[in-house]
Amino acid sequence: MNARNIAVYIGGVLFGFGLAYSGMTKQEIVLSFLRLQDLGLIFVMGGAAVITFFAINVVPRFMKAPMFGGVFKPRVSVLTRNTILGAVIFGVGWGVSGQCPGSAVASLGTGNWPVIIGLMGMFLGAYMRGRFIKG
């Protein structure tokens, strides 16, 4: 393991701990947000985005480059029809199951074994996107 991968692992541990702490690894809690019964999810995504905003926009003013190589580059992308069409399909799947990629993966660490079925679906869906859609 090089320094970069160790940093990714440790950051991942924090990320997964945070997702579990916030209850996002429980599909029932995510579904209660989407039914507008418990709006806490806004604070999870918002809290994480605000902290990460400082890392992406403020920290690079004081550091030339990331500590273990690579470059500082914000995550911006071009808006296409697929951005929106994909988000529609993702939203429907999110509403059906209460699962999203990160929370589903982390959820395995809480012993939530049925989500293995959901993750198999995600791999199949990602495969179908590569198999049937160009670009």
Partner: protein, 152 residues
């Protein structure tokens, strides 16, 4: 609006953000999750879509990131968690069908709740803002529709 209070959500969100920030400051990588499926499939599929150079380059650290997420949730389960091990009661057909749509949709949209919702919004990307509003809107509509149809 907040039957469980705000603290667990806010503290969890801040910890999640600190994880993503640590990774960005140390490596310049964005700790986004849905690409994990595409890069991992590059080990199994010869399709050009999966064999793109950046998928091959990213597949190691994305797998390590996923293992980190599982480890972090495992640590929580055996330390702070009031319930310990936990298993969802959501029907398997919903997990399977929802998972399929989540995998297809996030990869078509090039981002998920972490890619668009955390890293994209933190980068002030308008593309990500439109994506977040779209998947939130359709998630809310779908959950209400299922509830209306009596699927609980």
């Amino acid at each position: 609006m907040f039957p469980l209070g705000i603290e667990p959500y806010l503290i969890g969100g801040i910890l999640t953000g600190l994880g993503a920030s640590l990774i960005y400051i140390m490596t310049g990588l964005h700790a986004t999750q849905s690409s994990f499926f595409t890069t991992t499939l590059s080990w199994f599929s010869k399709l050009a879509h999966f064999q793109e150079e950046r998928n091959i380059k990213e597949r190691d650290w994305r797998l390590i990131l996923a293992l980190g997420l599982i480890s972090g949730a495992l640590i929580y389960t055996f330390t702070f968690s009031p319930t310990g091990l936990w298993v969802t009661g959501v029907d398997l057909w919903r997990l399977a069908l929802g998972g399929l749509l989540v995998g297809f949709g996030t990869r078509l949209s090039n981002g998920c709740t972490s890619g668009h919702g955390i890293s994209g919004l933190a980068s002030l990307s308008t593309t990500s803002l439109y994506a977040v509003l779209t998947f939130m809107g359709f998630g809310i509509i779908t959950a209400h529709l299922l509830q209306f149809l009596g699927v609980v």
